[in-house]
Subunit: 168 residues, 2 copies
Amino acid sequence: MSDIAKQAGVSRQAVYLHFNSRAELLIAATHHLDDINGSPERLIASRIATTGTERLATYITAWSGYLPDIYGMAKAFLAMQDSDEAVAMAWRARMQDMKEGCAAAINALAHDRRLSPHYTPDQATDILWTMLSVRNWEQLTVDCDWSHDQYTAAMIQMARDMFVIDGA
Amino acid sequence: MSDIAKQAGVSRQAVYLHFNSRAELLIAATHHLDDINGSPERLIASRIATTGTERLATYITAWSGYLPDIYGMAKAFLAMQDSDEAVAMAWRARMQDMKEGCAAAINALAHDRRLSPHYTPDQATDILWTMLSVRNWEQLTVDCDWSHDQYTAAMIQMARDMFVIDGA
DNA sequence: TATTTACTTAACACAGTGTCAATTGACAGG
DNA sequence: CCTGTCAATTGACACTGTGTTAAGTAAATA
């Protein structure tokens, strides 16, 4: 809070005149970030793809483009969610939205009868959702030093290998 | 620290007579936990498997049996690693060991010429390592409410789908 | 001119980690 | 029995960080 106040050029206490708590400030900051770069809409764009396979790829591509933009905020959310219930809830809601995108892509695939029989649509959604988590992106790009393109390509390849069976 | 002292039936200050800091106590606790249930050795057992495919499956099974035992400690490590460099290092070292196990399984697969051409052994290792992370286990078992067996089966299936190609 | 608004400084409460000094009780050896 | 040592005790303190409160100020607004 001190650092933020310093950056903003106001006193530490003045921050509390605008936001009641650190958690509230963090949540307001995400809303602001969403406003200035219209982020969540980008993920919906993938829904225009017609086949399930395409949809899976476009969704992964969209997510992978979106991730670097929200990574800073995400890290703050992840760090605070253990100590603040409101932050945890806001983060869960956001990740739940993202899961819906996964579910939509998997369901499109199932509708095309191209979903692997090894998984139910729910299981496939859970796996895809987990695979695309911010932590995993962080691990691959930061710890394993993957480039953005490597990440995107590998996630698409992986989703294909696991979930898509050849058309009859 | 207060809670731990209370549980141990000593004063809060007495804990500092044995461990210089919260981080040191946490690290000592893991060593103790390893001693009493000989945990890391379990992961090495998978190395007796002969073929790469078998090795992949036994390693995943071993890791999946090991995970619930260390989950409590792991959570403490993950929560502290942002604020304490010593904790972060200890955790990284441990995860690096686990990564070696992944690499061994992937390399055995590559040796058998059964590794998918979509990935280099390093890439496959990174992906497997990421896929088997504690966070992912937590997400699937806690958030998605998967059973232990479901988790194990899905991870094995996933590794097969992604990494193993049919023998010639 | 009077009021409102946004902000200031300065102080405080509270929780948590880590430190320090003085004290106590038990136990072992001479 | 006395003495030294060891482990633990109580009680105090320093420091960081969040959040609150009170009193005051400077500029815009009515």
